[in-house]
């Protein structure tokens, strides 16, 4: 038991490591604040474009979404970070993360928004049109709010996944929470910093998981 505490919950190590862990937590939050709006905006744009009637617009969009959902995010990130310099484009770690995340999470958000838009009955848009609303008004005021409500659990779930996913930025030396914890662990030969990072992730994300469980149950109850 003592060995276990010493290896994972050493106060001595934690008191030394917490400033850089806190730094990392800040970076994780900052990174999330950048990539979530970026991905959501990209996804919404994809979904709105895919409401086009022409299949010459819709099919390339479906292909785009499927390709970037098929590539593991870490593969995209490594490709952007390690590959682009060979094409003469030097990208910083945060630039690579922004691009990689935009491609991946944009595709996921796009698929969710698209499902949401499709879930709104056509009668809603027709009724709005009969009342004399213009196309952008119909989308922004009538269809989109209902679409978002219908897929809210999926949107929350994806957002949770994106925050968790920021941990892969550690692979390209972004000094976020996991990276800092790994640094501290390799200096001290003790797993306490990683344990502390895990606890921080859990405290940060547990409320979101609970909220998600509740939303999912509510959605299920309404469908029964």
């Amino acid at each position: 038991m003592n060995d276990f505490l010493e290896a994972f919950f050493s106060w001595e190590i934690l008191s030394e490591a917490w400033p850089i862990l806190l730094d990392g937590l800040g970076q994780t939050l900052l990174l999330s604040a950048i990539v979530i709006p970026l991905g959501a905006m990209g996804g919404l744009t994809l979904a709105l474009l895919s409401t086009a009637k022409s299949r010459w617009v819709r099919w390339p969009l479906i292909a785009y979404v499927d390709v970037f959902r098929a590539l593991p995010p870490l593969v995209l990130l490594v490709f952007v970070y390690a590959g682009l310099p060979f094409a003469g484009l030097e990208v910083s770690a945060i630039g690579a993360v922004a691009i990689g995340f935009f491609l991946n999470t944009g595709a996921y958000y796009g698929e969710i928004f698209r499902a949401g838009l499709e879930s709104v009955p056509a009668g809603q848009a027709e009724a709005a049109r009969a009342l004399g609303l213009k196309r952008p008004q119909i989308m922004a005021l009538i269809v989109l709010p209902q679409a978002v409500r219908n897929v809210l659990p999926d949107l929350v779930s994806n957002t949770l996944e994106v925050v968790k996913l920021t941990s892969i930025a550690s692979v390209v030396a972004m000094p976020e929470l996991l990276f800092q914890a790994r640094q501290a662990q390799s200096v001290t030969y003790n797993a306490t910093p990683i344990m502390a990072a895990a606890v921080a992730y859990f405290i940060l994300l547990w409320p979101l998981v609970r909220l998600l469980s509740r939303l999912e149950n509510k959605q299920l109850a309404s469908r029964r």
Binding site: D3, L74, V171, A191, I194
Partner: protein, 226 residues
């Protein structure tokens, strides 16, 4: 050399591709093996948790809910790193493959339990009561009465979640597993040319694009009737 030639020479270099293709193919099989292991253990463990939860023992259920929440909240890479770099401190050494297998299985277990559970609770209580009045034991009721009704509801989200978590096998490259990404990265650093990464990306597309399209099909096939 024009810019275009330079680009081709970097990302589609035939000589480098020929040299590293066998390594990528080895990685391809390793990725499939890891994915298969994760899917088998993760889905099974999730089902076991769901069965236990259906028995309705209060303290046990709290423990299950906490475990599920825990592995839904923790990033998979953090769990992998914790197992691979943390547990040796207790004298428990795991290979990178084992660490990734355990970590991703725990994550899939958590998500799968949640989905099975949603399916189970969607089946009306009367079904449990009717089976009980017919004298069916718990496990028989669960497997032959409840599950067949729940499964239709469960398949689309379970398919999508399994695909998403299986893509996490690429994380194993961080703990030195020579899977597709691991082999590709090693290739890049040896050849100082990004062609192995192009091959790697192509290998992932070959593996996951059909699965993603299958997921799309499953979603429409088992869609909600409104």
């Amino acid at each position: 050399m024009s810019n275009w030639d330079k680009f081709l020479d970097s990302f589609f270099n035939a000589r480098v591709a020929a040299e590293y293709l066998p390594k990528i193919i080895d990685g391809f099989w390793l990725t499939i093996l890891l994915a298969a292991c994760v899917i088998a253990t993760g889905l099974f463990a999730g089902l076991v948790l769901a069965v236990l939860r259906a028995m309705g023992i209060r303290p046990l259920n709290w423990l299950i809910i906490f475990t599920v929440d825990l592995f839904r909240a923790l990033p998979p890479l953090v769990i992998i790193v914790l197992i691979f770099f943390g547990l040796p401190g207790l004298g428990l050494e795991f290979s990178g493959f084992a660490a990734a297998w355990i970590a991703l299985s725990l994550v899939l277990m958590a998500f799968a339990e949640e989905i099975y559970w949603a399916g189970i609770t969607s089946v009306p209580k009367g079904q449990w009561e009717a089976s009980r009045s017919l004298g069916l034991p718990f496990l028989v009721t669960f497997l032959l009465v409840i599950m067949p009704q729940a499964i239709r509801l469960v398949i689309p989200p379970l398919t999508n979640r399994t695909i998403a978590i299986t893509k996490g096998t690429a994380l194993a490259s961080v703990v030195a597993v020579p899977d597709i990404l691991g082999a590709a990265q090693a290739g890049v650093s040896f050849s100082f040319n990004p062609t192995p990464l192009t091959l790697g990306a192509a290998a992932y597309l070959l593996l996951f694009l059909p699965v993603v399209i299958l997921g799309r099909w499953v979603e429409t096939r088992f869609a909600w009737k409104r």
